[in-house]
């Protein structure tokens, strides 16, 4: 495999973007990324999007978006792995360049969620329709069942979950692209309405519109053309059963453990060498479980770590400096690529007020469903 790098990024501010269509959001983010990279060639386009067919009744996004970017006739494909769609699009771009097939690739993610009144149903299609959704369980419900068992087994406190949201909202105030740029308090989280016990509204990431893009090239091409490369030193993906109840364990996400293990092996680094991580905090409990399953903390100690401030911007391992899905917003297909945007900004010293000092290695983890898919990339300053 050839060495692959990110050489530019762009995203639009996530939010309820009533005035912008799916294609407009994507083209805006893509043009920013292409401009940031300063490239005049794109050999292929990979787009992550979860459920445009349901949300805006538009499939066939590869060709549509290549056309609207003026990039046709390049090969262009849309990839879907539920909320991990952006992460798998990034991995596809990585593989395309790594294999020697392409030299410069545009990777994007997009989701238009506010044109529909069927968001809950659309997201639920990432769970097992006949054996979970049929019985009335929702995504907050699935993560609520993980949370309840985590609290029972490990003594994780309800306040620990709230502190994840409080931290990520604080980070969001420093990110001009975040959907929410205001702080919240533990009391506000605990007073917000119950969605699925024990999870409340402010434990949940919001419904957002948005798009994010990165430009990838081989490291060799980036150097030869005077770009600012950040090397992708690992790309790994793993899967698990779609239905939560069929897993060996409920409070450990096997796909996260496995994708992390493979990524660390590929990069030749361990969790101790990671300077910051962007992880998939679709619900507060998800950040706690993922932080354990990626090896940042011992199993069961993720809640305590948040309580002790170890995951804040100046903590032992800053998690979700961008504000995470919770505050930055979660346009599902865009999320995995937005994580790469944040990592690129952090590793090129462009993260402004939320810049992590001396950041050299960053990890990004994007997850689909209740953890049936997990994608991990590790990036390093060249």
């Amino acid at each position: 495999m050839r060495e692959v790098a990110i050489i530019g990024c762009g995203m639009i501010r996530f939010g309820e973007l009533w005035k912008k269509s799916l294609r407009t959001m994507f083209v805006e983010a893509a043009l920013k990324a292409i401009d940031d990279a300063g490239v005049d060639r794109i050999d292929a386009l990979y787009v992550g999007c979860m459920t445009s067919g349901l949300f805006v009744e538009q499939e066939h996004l590869g060709a549509l978006l290549a056309d609207y970017l003026g990039l046709a006739p390049i090969p262009a494909i849309r990839l879907e792995s539920a909320c991990a769609s952006g992460g798998v699009a990034l991995r596809q771009g990585f593989l395309d360049i790594g294999s020697g097939n392409s030299e410069v690739v545009l990777v994007g993610g997009v989701e238009k969620m506010t044109d529909t009144d069927r968001v809950t149903d659309g997201l639920a299609s990432a769970a097992d329709q006949e054996y979970e959704v049929f019985h009335g369980v929702t995504f907050p419900g699935l993560y609520a069942m993980i949370a309840r068992l985590h609290m029972e087994h490990y003594g994780t406190k309800r306040e620990d979950l709230a502190l994840v949201a409080v931290k990520n909202h604080k980070h969001g105030t420093m990110n001009p692209h975040a959907h929410f740029q205001r702080e919240i308090t533990v009391d506000q989280v605990l007073a917000s309405s119950l969605v699925a016990d024990p999870l409340r509204l402010l434990d949940c990431s919001p419904v957002s519109d948005g798009a994010a893009c990165v430009v990838l090239s081989s490291l060799e091409w980036a150097k030869a053309h005077g770009k600012t490369p950040v090397k992708i030193i690992a790309s790994a993906m793993a899967t698990d059963t779609l239905a939560l109840h069929q897993r060996k364990e409920i409070t450990t996400l096997g796909s996260v453990v496995e994708s992390g293990r493979k990524a660390y092996a590929m990069a030749g680094v361990g969790p101790d060498q990671i300077d910051f991580a962007e992880v998939h905090d679709c619900f507060t409990i998800a950040e706690i479980v993922v932080s354990e399953d990626l090896g940042f903390f011992k199993k069961g100690e993720g809640g305590k770590a948040v309580r002790e401030g170890l995951t804040g911007l100046d903590g032992k391992i800053p998690i979700n400096p961008s504000g995470g899905l919770k505050a930055k917003g979660h346009p599902v297909g865009a999320t995995g690529v937005a994580q790469a945007v944040e990592a690129y900004l952090q590793l090129t010293g462009r993260a402004e007020k939320r810049q992590i000092k001396d950041a050299r290695i960053g990890l990004i983890q994007n997850m689909g469903g209740s953890g049936a898919s997990s994608v991990v990339h590790i990036l390093e300053v060249v």
Binding site: D121, Y131, F134, H135, G136, G141, R148, E152, S193, A196
Partner: protein, 129 residues
């Protein structure tokens, strides 16, 4: 939901007809064609026991739109006597009295209906004993 989609699941939903891998001692509902543990393709048909306990649970306050369910309603992951697990609603109970480890029986109930004139779909729910 298209009627045939429910109709195909009736053996599982009405009678808990799954199957079993004798090599791995694992139970599957719905039945599988291949055991994910060992790759065995000759799996033994097996009706799951209707006795079990709650592994974890939640109380849904914001329901999926399609099902028009009355909130709040509890949903649990239940482990049957033989160690198979399934997700279902918990009925005939006070949600605030539910707890992890609670013994339940799996009973036949209406799960959802398609609007006022559509198909009524039956299946399993758990009831505390």
């Amino acid at each position: 939901m298209p009627t045939q989609r429910h109709w195909r699941e009736i053996p599982q939903r009405y009678r808990l007809e799954g199957n079993f891998c004798p090599d791995c001692n694992r139970y599957f509902l719905p039945p599988r064609l291949v055991c994910p543990g060992c790759g065995r393709k000759e799996l033994t048909p097996k009706k799951l026991s209707r006795k079990g306990k709650i592994v974890t649970f939640t109380v849904i306050r914001v329901p999926p739109k399609t099902q028009e369910l009355k909130t709040p309603y509890p949903v649990a992951i239940v482990e049957t006597e033989e160690g198979a697990r399934l997700t279902c609603q918990v009925c005939d109970c006070e949600p605030s009295e539910l707890r992890i480890g609670q013994e339940v029986e799996i009973v036949f109930r209406e799960v959802m209906r398609e609007g006022k004139t559509g198909v009524i779909m039956y299946g399993y729910k758990a009831r505390p004993v």
